[in-house]
Symmetry: C2
Subunit: 235 residues, 2 copies
């Protein structure tokens, strides 16, 4: 937790917050914070700044806070991701949020196991929890938008062309394709497949919607690693 992220409900005055629960435990057990300590704080969806601990014990913490800095810029990207297995989903949500992706579409694919759509980690509260962890890690305050698309074809045919219009459209896919470009200066729409990859039909449909296949070399990377590697290369 490199940033103490504050929500509206935490505020007991315009410049004062009271915390309990997970963040309090973290302050006590991990930060080993003490009265008078100054911490980096951010207001969810708003600015970042500093907070001074006025009071801290096992049941609550109070801080005086001031905000004076904008959060870091997001990456100019919409990321489409074939729904990963639940354990990977949690980590990917954190990574995506930490790296500054503003919009994530979780998409079905032939190789996504049907059971993955049943996971409780897809509940809005569970998604939000992982995104918050990513913001706290990276020091950002703005939650990414997460869109869930359980049907590949209608999404790719009807909505993706509009979503990708005016952007550099790319599908990460191993094979005999051009290498993923570096340090691009425009907005990107990037699709990353499931373990085992997109099937050829899906690669074709994504290309029809404007997302051309690019590759990252002959090594097959886990989804989480591929997401990070592609983002680091593109921007």
């Amino acid at each position: 937790m490199n940033l103490l992220l504050l929500e509206d409900g935490d505020f007991i005055a315009a410049d004062r917050v009271r915390l309990s629960g997970r963040r309090l435990t973290h302050l006590n057990d991990v930060h080993r914070a003490e009265n008078g300590d100054t911490l980096r704080v951010g207001r969810l969806g708003g600015q970042m700044g500093r907070g001074q601990l006025l009071q801290l014990d096992a049941t609550s913490a109070e801080l005086q806070v001031a905000f004076d800095q904008p959060p870091p810029a997001k990456l100019p990207i919409t990321l489409l991701l074939a729904l990963p297995r639940p354990k990977m989903l949690k980590r990917v949500l954190q990574s995506v949020s930490a790296m500054g992706v503003p919009r994530l579409v979780l998409l079905n694919s032939y190789r996504v196991e049907k059971s993955f759509w049943q996971t409780p980690f897809l509940e809005p509260e569970a998604i939000r929890e992982q995104l918050i962890l990513g913001l706290e890690q990276a020091r950002d305050t703005v939650l990414p938008e997460v869109i869930i698309e359980k049907r590949f074809k209608p999404f790719v045919e009807d909505r993706l062309p509009q979503l990708a219009a005016g952007t550099l459209g790319l599908t990460g896919h191993p094979g005999d394709y051009p290498a993923c470009p570096r340090a691009v200066q425009q907005s990107v729409t990037l699709a990353i497949g499931p373990e085992g990859g997109w099937i050829p039909y899906e690669v074709d449909k994504l290309a029809e919607a404007g997302l051309k296949p690019v590759q990252l070399g002959e090594r097959i990377l886990r989804v989480e690693t591929a997401v990070t590697a592609l983002l680091a290369r593109l921007f």
Copy 2:
């Protein structure tokens, strides 16, 4: 497991292997392989090729194998990593192996908790297990070398200058430093700090040994994410 990795002890003839244990379970439960199926195989430290399942049941599998392809090239890098916490260490070892890092130095740092050095995940067999998982993921056969350096100062003063000689020496560190270079055409020695970062003394000592600080932006990334992002950007 995108590659079935074979070791000397698996061979019952020059072109024939018998498997049990983890890989057998994986063939049965994950691949749901059947007699006659053809799988990608690799010989640990050697070539890659194809194997055909001659026999498969709950107790063993036999394959006829042929090797005709070299493993993918490694990245021209020596990676120095402040020892991460045990859970992260496991994942980092897999990533590093999957991404093709040929040599990893696990190093002490002021912000590495002493208890991290006690983890059973640092036993040679435990390290090897994670590296093997990375090779199976990425389709590679050559284990990275892992060097453990429990003392920062003697390593950085006495051994690092020689290790880094003739390479581009870099320390990944947030701050007012040049951006990490992209698509470099030379060998690299890269140091990545612990959660919380290197302390200034360590940044100075690494710089004296030839590793100049570079940054990846204002977002603070988890160690595993930083490793992947820096490698993807450098190569």
